[in-house]
Amino acid sequence: MRSGRVLGALAAAAMIIAAGCAPGSDNSGGDDEPSPSSVETDVASMGDITLTVWDQEVRSGQDKPLQELNKEFMERYPNITIKRVSRSFTDLQKQLRLAITGNDVPDVVQANNTRGDMGAFVKAGLLRPLDSYAEVYGWDDRFPASIRAASSYSSDGKTFGEGNLYGLPLTGEFIGVWFNKAKLDKLGIEPPTTLADFEAALKKAKDAGEIPIQFGDKEGWPGIHELGFLQDMYAAKDDIRTLGYGREGGSWDTAENKKAAQTLVDWVKDGYFTDGFNGIDYDPSWQAFAKGQGVFLISGTWLLADLQPALGDDLGFMLPPTGDTGDLTVTGATGLPFAITKASEHADAAAAYIDFITSKDAMAKITKAGGLPIVDSGVAVSGTQKELFDAWEKARSEDALVPYLDWSTPDAYDLITADVQELMGGDKSVDDVIGDLQKDYSSFVADNAGG
């Protein structure tokens, strides 16, 4: 029983400590952002500096150019050492939260644009606003407003899509339709440009014994893209943006959103997706497509460098078809932006680094590696990469981009991934799923406005 008493005493002690100070630290407020005039751009004169960079550019289209860029930066400025820490997207997302609040904070981090990540970091005052650097380095000219918006927050982290600039992306990305040209030719189908044509093509593919849409959703997140793809067919652009940026005045509970969800269910019933998609991981699913299984693959542009070598000339890419709205609407935005932590002691060097990896030369490197640079590099491309670049140009010029659905609220990612699995698995009704999403959205918007 003695040990019981000791434990009790310790617990009591802990309570007292606990009542005294809250966990975490409050860095918000008091932005110590340098004015443009005090920004140091002469990297060579900064002395010996080690820049720690955390990124998730592990796919071949992005990893190679970044390696080269890091090397060149260090060659140009021998006083700088770049310590690169690379993780996969999901791993980075988890470890970054711990790293950015720890004692040994990286200087440059690639933070997901979402409210749950970048938004939360901004709110806690852990990221540095980059507006002064943007002015000095002319980033406002380099990047169009729509791209900067995807990395912008108000300084309290509540408003997404406007306010201070907190990061810059290297690549663009959006959800489009990959297709197998050989199979389309065999089926006698032209790449469909409207939803009706697309559905007809799916039916034809199914009847011919093909897998119409290659799909694997065991991890849950690819489902966000499928639902978004159909929402883009039925709902108006601005409504999706209101939801996606978590702004007031939107609603999930609309006929259009329900129709999108219902169509997804119908497609499952019609057998348009790979059998057992909820049991297939994302990577095996696109790899199967690369091996010639499946006519279409609704997924992101980031797959280009991986799909191209496997399918060669048979690989095709197109923008999503237009649906009821008649407007081209495309889910997509930027790759994950590179941001500078507030704890970094070498913010000026970090900014120079970000400027370097987003330069025109950097964009050319990304293009050559088969990636989609965020802004045009001027390098001529051909084949599927050209189809993809043209699509990106068209989506941007028609202002067709809408944010990913999981950007909407901090819990949206978790909710949508599970709900779409259940929706498509036939375990949850359209009304229940839309109800869940609406509940999450409306309670978030109310909280965000209130507190």
Binding site: G125, L126, G279, D414, E422, D427
Partner: protein, 308 residues
């Protein structure tokens, strides 16, 4: 506790001396200190820190807000956590009941009949214990996949049957995760029971056979009572393994499809690291710890109860 034999001897030899002056209790703490320091640093401190975190609403990044016992109230009242704990109960069947029954059966068979190649078999059954859980999970993930071995064998045996996405359907996913637990746990249970049964003197069986007791009767009259201690150990280990299952779920299903394989440990991770509700997640962890502690104590009470 501290009464060693020599001390008792010396106390008996000099009964007039005051007992306390010769009591080497304080020195004992010195010997215990290294272990205590390690225990305190790696178990006690994190536990207390967890209690501290559980009293706050904290996103893991910014400044926490004091909520007192609010998290505890939420954890105990919100229906969303009932499902994961129910899933744990299902897992206990697969992680604990099934391996213990199979382990008993295997151990009994191996002790009572001279099986050729018994040691090879023993090793094979125990092997899953040696492999890291993540590796186990990845291997089974492949086996269960729509293009995996199970479906291959099924479609070969019964052509034309619809193959399953075993981990992709809510009705089968949890059971599939559980079966992996059975596969892993059986070896451990078998080895434990083998050790217990090997203590049984051969004469007992001979006597029982002479009395006309069949194998089943012998099992319940001789085998089972002799492995009571091992049974308690096996129960404790396997129930704890069931309740803290994380790696299998994380690698194989991420709690999906939907919410059908979410278990308490996974919820701890999901809430504290993914959803930025550290206080809430930690409170689940503490509740889980309490449940595990309670079950361990109960199992040991029951196992020891009749002996003394």
């Amino acid at each position: 506790m501290g009464d060693g034999a020599p001390e008792r001897g010396s106390a008996a030899a000099k009964p007039t001396r005051s007992r306390t002056s010769y009591e080497p209790r304080k020195v004992a703490y010195l010997y215990l200190a290294p272990a205590l320091v390690v225990f305190a640093a790696f178990l006690l401190w994190p536990l207390l820190h967890a209690v501290y975190l559980s009293l706050y609403e904290w996103d893991g990044i910014g400044l926490g807000t004091w909520v007192g016992l609010g998290n505890y109230k939420d954890v105990l009242t919100q229906p969303e956590l009932r499902e994961p704990f129910l899933h744990s109960l299902v897992l206990i069947v697969f992680f604990s009941v099934v391996p213990i029954c199979l382990g008993l059966l295997l151990a009994w068979t191996m002790v009572r009949s001279q099986v050729r190649g018994g040691s090879v078999f023993r090793t094979a059954v125990f092997l899953p214990q040696v492999v890291a859980m993540v590796v186990v999970a990845i291997a089974w993930d492949r086996i269960y996949s729509p293009t995996g071995s199970i479906n291959h064998v099924l479609s070969w045996l019964l052509p034309g049957t619809v193959t399953h996405a075993w981990l992709g359907e809510p009705s089968t996913a949890l059971v599939c995760v559980g079966l992996v637990g059975s596969w892993v746990g059986t070896g451990l249970c078998m080895v434990l029971f083998l050790a217990g049964l090997s203590k049984v003197p051969r004469e007992l069986y001979e006597a029982a056979t002479l009395d006309g007791a069949g194998s089943l009767r012998q099992f319940f009259a001789i085998g089972l009572p002799h492995v009571r201690g091992e049974l308690a150990v096996a129960l404790t280990l396997t129930i704890v393994a069931a309740l803290r299952t994380f790696d299998l779920v994380y690698v194989m299903t991420s709690g999906g499809p939907g919410t059908s394989t979410r278990v308490p440990s996974y919820e701890v991770y999901r809430w504290s690291l993914e959803d930025g509700k550290v206080g809430y997640g930690v409170t689940i962890a503490l509740l889980l710890t309490a449940v595990i502690l309670l079950i361990t104590v109960l199992v040991n009470r029951v196992a020891e109860g009749d002996d003394t």
